[in-house]
Amino acid sequence: MDILTNLMNGFSVALQPYYLFLILVGGILGTVIGMLPGLGPATGVAILLPMTFSMGPTASLITMMGVYIGAMFGGSRSSILINTPGDGAALAATFDGYPMAMKGKAESALAISAIASLIGGTIAAVLMTLMAEPVAGLAVKFGPAEYFLLMVAALSMTVSMSKGNMLKGFLSMCIGLAISTVGIDGQSGLQRFTFGVLELQTGIDFLVVIIGIYALGEVFKSFRTLSEGGKKAQTKFKRIWISKEEWKRSKWPILRSAPVGFIIGALPGAGGTMASLMCYNNEKQLSKNKEEFGHGAIEGLAAPESANNAASIGAMIPMLSLGVPGSGTTAVMMGALLMLGIQPGPLLFAQHPDTAWGLIASMFVANVILAIVNIPLAGVLVRLLAIPPKVLYPIVLSLAFVGCYAISASVVDFYILIILGVAGVIMGRLDIPTSPMILAAIVGGQMEQSFRQGYRISNQDLSVFMNSGIAKGLLVVILLSILLPIISAIRAKAAKRKVAA
C-alpha cells in the first residue's frame, strides 16, 4: 500500500507539465542520439548532461531518464533501416529488423520495435516499483565492510561478463582503479599520482572518463565507417503499425522477455546487449518457426526490443537502491546526482522521496511518451539518418568537449579526454573491454574508503570482511563470478579437444 501511495506521489511529480516537457525534449534528443551509429545512451546522457546543470535534482534526473529511454528507443531505428545498430543493445534488432525492412515491412518493424519497447519498459518499471525500496531497505544494513565487498562483487561480475577476455577485463579494471586513485587521498591528505599538476589534486572526474571513452573513443572508432560510406535509409513510409497476426506472434515473446531483461539489466556490467541477445536466442529456441529467424521473423525483433528496454530500467536498481551504478548510463546519472549534492543509495528513498519516486514514475511516463513520439513520428525522426555521419561526428566531438568543460571548467580535463579517447580506440583494437575500467573508475574511490573504514573500525582485523551473513553472501558471489567463467572455459576447451580427437 505504501508503495502505491509513494508511486502516486511520484506520478504527481512526473505528470506536472514542466516535467512532461522535459521528458519529451530529453526523449527526442535521446532518440536522435540513439539513432546515430555507435552512439548509445551513455554517450547521449553524458553529452547532454550540461543541459541539466541549471535544473534541480528531480528535473535533472527526469530529463536524463527521458534521454536514456529515448536512446534505447532510437537505437533500433538505425538497426532496422540501415542494419547499423545505434549501440550494442540494439544489435539483436539487426538480425530480423533489417530483413523485415528489406522485405518491405519496415513499417511493421518500426511499430513492433516501439510497442515492444513500451511494453518491456512498462513491465520493468512495475518490477522496479516493487523492488527498489525493499532492496534499499536491505542496503541499510550494510556497513563499510559490506559496501567494500558489494563494490568488489560489482567489479568481479563486470569482469566476468568480458566473455573470453576475462584476463583483459581484469587489466581494464586495474586501469580504472588506478584512475580512481589520482588526487588527494581523503583520509591521509597525501597527494597521489598528481605529478605536480594542480588540477589533478581533485582527481579525475569519472564523467570525464565516460565521455572520453564513450564519446571520443566511439567517434574515433567510427572513422572507419566514414571511409566505408553510409547506407541510405528508407525515409518514406506507409502507415506505421502492425497487423493482428503480427501482434499474435509477438505478444508472448514481448511478455516473456521483459522480466528476463529486467533481471539481467540489474546485474552490474551485464546490460542491454546481453539481455537482448539472450532473449533473442530464447525465442529462437521456443519458436515453431526457427528457420524464419534471421530472415525477418517479427518475434526475433519483438523479444530483444522488449528485453533491452527492460534492462535499461533494471540497471537503475543498483544505482538508486545501493548507490552502485550498474551500467555506463546509470553511472553518468549517478555522477549528476552527486554533483547536485544527492547521494544515491539506501537513504535516497527516505531523504529525497520526491526525487526517487518522481524518477520511478517518470519511467512509466517516458515509455508512453516515447512510444507516442516513435510510432507516428518515426518517419520524421529517421530523416536524421540521412544526415551524413561525417558532419555529425565533429558535432559530437564538440559536444563532448563542451560537456567536459561544463563539468569541471578546466581545460586540463580536455587533455585527459583526448588521452582516454585514444585509449578507447587502442583498447578496442586490443580487445580489452572498457566497462570494467569505467565501473572501477566510478566505484574505486568509494571502495577504497570503505575498505579503510572497515579496517580501522575493526582495529585492523581483516576478518571483519567475512563476519556478517551479508559479507559471506557477497564473498560467495565474488568467488562464483570469477570461478564460473573459468570453469566453463576449461570445460569448453575440453569439449573442443574431444571433438577434434
Binding site: S188, L216, S398, V425
Partner: protein, 162 residues
C-alpha cells in the same frame, strides 16, 4: 604452414606488466602521510599493481609473444584505406590538442569554430569548406548562446570583450 592465429594477448601482457611495475613503483615512492597507518594510502595502488603484473604474466603465458608479432605485422600491412583512417584519427587528435590550448585564450566561439572547421575538413574533405565554415560558425554561436544564456553554464567569452 603455421597454425598460430594472430592476437594481441602477449603485447597486452607486456603492457600490463610495465603498467603494474611503473604504477606500483611510483606508489611505493610516494611520501608517507603525516598521520595514520603509513601504508594505508598505498594499499590499493600496491594491490592494483600486483594484480596487473600477475595478469600480464598470465596473458603472456596463455597468448604467447609470436601471435602478437604477427598481429603487429598484420597491422602494418593493412589496406591503405585503414591506414588513412588511422591518419585521420591522429590528425583529429592533434586538432583536439590545439583546441585545448586555444580554448580559454581565444574564447569558446572562435576556438570551437576553428575546431569544427578543421575536423569537418578532415571528415568531409577540403571541397566542403564553405558548408564546413557555415556549420562551424552556426554551431559554435548556437551552443555559446544556449549554454551561457539558457543553461547558465559560463563558457569562455570572446577575448576582446571583458
Amino acid at each position: 604452414m603455421s597454425n598460430i592465429k594472430s592476437n594481441w594477448d602477449g603485447l597486452t601482457g607486456l603492457f600490463s606488466i610495465t603498467f603494474g611495475l611503473a604504477y606500483g613503483g611510483y606508489a611505493y615512492s610516494l611520501p608517507q602521510p603525516m598521520f595514520g597507518n603509513p601504508l594505508e594510502a598505498i594499499f590499493l595502488p600496491l594491490a592494483v599493481s600486483a594484480i596487473a603484473i600477475f595478469i600480464g604474466v598470465l596473458l603472456i603465458f596463455t597468448g604467447g609473444i609470436s601471435p602478437s608479432i604477427m598481429a603487429i605485422k598484420a597491422l602494418l600491412n593493412e589496406s591503405s584505406q585503414r591506414k588513412e583512417d588511422r591518419r585521420k584519427i591522429a590528425i583529429t587528435c592533434v586538432i583536439c590538442i590545439f583546441y585545448a590550448m586555444l580554448f580559454e585564450h581565444a574564447g569558446y566561439v572562435i576556438s570551437t569554430s576553428l575546431f569544427m572547421f578543421s575536423t569537418l575538413t578532415v571528415t568531409c574533405g577540403k571541397g566542403f569548406w564553405k558548408k564546413s565554415a557555415l556549420i562551424s560558425i552556426i554551431f559554435a554561436g548556437g551552443i555559446f548562446i544556449t549554454f551561457n544564456e539558457l543553461l547558465s553554464v559560463n563558457l569562455p567569452p570572446f577575448p576582446f570583450f571583458n
